[in-house]
């Protein structure tokens, strides 16, 4: 079974969300997702300043076999993107919860974080 840190929040579409406790969250894809995708070769990031709706397709991760959409887990504004991924998309494979983070967003509603899946919920989803 892949690694699912218990302190993070998750979505059914395999994004993880970390609360930075300053009104912003960091978003990435789970270990399980990077395993399914295989070697990543390219990441298309959202623009900083872009207002996202919850569940809006906002980024694309491309592996040798597929190009997949990344969905905004919650509504909010993109405040930073991981520029290292431009040259090193493989960081997502090697360190999905650390150096392989995708972008940070300022949530429109900080309480909306509660609507996301817990690690246990996600583990159950990913098992199916």
């Amino acid at each position: 079974m892949s690694n699912i840190p218990s302190e993070l929040k998750y979505t059914k579409s395999h994004e993880w969300i970390s609360d930075n406790e300053n009104g912003t969250v960091t978003v990435g894809i789970t270990d399980h997702a990077q395993e399914l995708l295989g070697d990543l070769v390219f990441v298309e990031q959202p623009e900083v300043g872009k207002e996202l709706e919850a569940e809006e397709a906002c980024a694309v991760v491309e592996s040798v076999k597929a190009a997949s959409d990344i969905y905004a887990p919650l509504a909010g504004e993109v405040v930073e993107v991981n520029e290292k991924l431009e040259d090193e998309p493989e960081l997502i494979n090697s360190d999905p919860y650390g150096e392989g983070w995708l972008f940070k967003m300022k949530l429109a509603d900080p309480d909306s974080l509660e609507s996301l899946l817990s690690a246990d919920d996600y583990a159950a989803e990913a098992d199916q």
Binding site: F42, E47, E62, A66, A67
Partner: protein, 450 residues
């Protein structure tokens, strides 16, 4: 049940199986108002012999005439070896193969084609080709919009000097995608993009500027200055080129400071006969930085598990068979056979041969212009031209061309067809296929028709 036959009994059986009364009911879900009721003007079925005779009569109307019409499709000498080789069984398919990597020869040919195209255009990457030049422009515009995400206007400056059919096809492809094509007027003196008209857009958010080279009127645009303007204005540059002319002209990859971003054009002048308008093929090249937004197929060179050299389809993750409705394009195939001919044609000519043919075409058209001056006919525009030129006749061009055609000389393209204010002008092209005697015959026939 066999797959192909369609005997009445089998049709009955199939309808009974799916529970339909007749074949008509299978189309019920298509609303009646959008269905084609009957085909007007289509004659009754004819036998093969009757059709062969009718089509031959049509073909005969084209044969034997001395042709000076260009306007987007150009007559060039095609060595006999080109189509002799192209129609060999190993090559004779219109498509890139479905089991692509099993067809190493075809992939290698496409790889060579891409290499030649990047050489000609001075760009980093070429795809395996598109349908034709006009649809390639549509794809180039869609690509520019995807690449230039910071530009929110989705406005594309398209000069009036760009081929009218290209403008129409591109408009059809992009108009329902929130993209606006803004017409940039030409200077009526030079026949080039009017620099003062372009200046009005300085500081405005413009996604891309299309630069035709040479333009529809045969005139050479000031590609360096236009590209420099675009670079200053944070606007992408789409070069729309005649690849044959690139044997001689500065490649778009070297325009301005950083070169064009996307280059498209029609490959017909490189090995495809005129054949009443097609099939031709489309060229699409771009900078390395834009490659992930490029539609269509790209062949790359790789090594296999044993370290042996081989060719593969690369960057497929954004194509339809993987990305479905979110693919970069609805392009699913290319003009493989015409590209094969083109690649063989270019290989036979080589860079020097292509350059010589381009220089000869340019010289022939200049000879024609000089001789036209002697009978009082001058170019309509003052701008420098490549191998095609607009001549002002001082009377309705349509009648003159008709009288020339009666003498088996196709004297040019009636510019009144695209712009009523130019109804007294024709577009004329004398490629390397024309001899001095041909040009003299053109002048004599023109003089008699005036």
């Amino acid at each position: 049940m066999p797959f192909i036959p369609h005997t009445p009994e089998e049709i009955e059986q199939m309808l009974a199986t799916i529970g339909a009364d007749d074949i008509e009911t299978l189309f019920d879900e298509i609303p009646a108002n959008i269905r084609c009721q009957s085909l007007d003007g289509i004659p009754p079925a004819a036998s093969e012999m009757e059709i062969a005779r009718e089509v031959q009569a049509m073909a005969d109307r084209d044969a034997g005439a001395l042709n000076f019409i260009g306007a987007g499709a150009y007559e060039h000498h095609i060595p006999a070896a080109v189509w002799q080789l192209t129609t060999r069984g190993e090559f004779y398919t219109a498509y890139t193969p479905y089991q692509a990597e099993a067809s190493q020869g075809t992939l290698q040919l496409i790889y060579e084609y891409q290499t030649m195209m990047t050489g000609l255009t001075g760009m980093d990457v070429s795809n395996a080709s598109l349908y034709d030049g006009a649809s390639a422009l549509g794809e180039a515009i869609l690509m520019a919009v995807r690449v230039h995400r910071k530009s929110k206007s989705r406005k594309i400056l398209v000069p009036a000097s760009l081929h009218p059919n290209y403008r129409k096809a591109a408009e059809t492809i992009v108009k329902h995608q929130g993209i606006e094509l803004v017409e940039l007027p030409i200077d009526p003196q030079t026949g080039r993009i009017d620099p003062t008209a372009l200046e009005q857009y300085s500081g405005e958010d413009i996604t891309a500027l299309a630069i035709p080279q040479p333009n529809f009127y045969g005139v050479l645009e000031e590609a360096d200055e236009l590209t420099a303007w675009a670079e200053q204005n944070n606007t992408l540059v789409i070069g729309v080129v005649n690849p044959f002319a690139l044997g001689l002209l500065k490649p778009p990859g070297e325009w301005g400071e950083n070169g064009a971003d996307v280059v498209c054009g029609d490959g017909q002048p490189l090995g495809a006969p005129l054949s009443s308008g097609g099939p031709y093929y489309g060229i699409l090249c771009c900078k390395q930085a834009h490659v992930r937004q490029m539609p269509g197929r790209i062949v790359g060179r790789a090594v296999d598990a044993d370290g042996k050299k081989g060719f593969v389809l690369t960057l497929q993750a954004r194509e339809q068979h993987i990305r479905r409705s979110k693919a970069t394009s609805n392009i699913c195939t290319n003009q493989g056979l015409v590209v094969t001919a083109s690649t063989i044609h270019m290989a036979l000519l080589g860079p020097v041969g292509l350059r010589n043919a381009a220089a000869l075409s340019m010289a022939n058209t200049r000879k024609l212009v000089e001789k036209a001056a002697a009978i009082g006919i001058a170019p309509r525009f003052s701008g420098e031209y490549f191998h095609e030129v607009a001549l002002q006749l001082g009377q309705p061009a349509a009648g003159v061309l008709e009288r020339m055609a009666a003498n088996n000389v196709l004297g040019g393209y009636d510019l009144g067809q695209v712009n009523p204010s130019m109804a007294d002008s024709i577009l004329v092209c004398a490629t390397e296929t024309k001899t001095d005697a041909d040009i003299d015959r053109f002048i004599d026939t023109l003089q008699a028709a005036l």
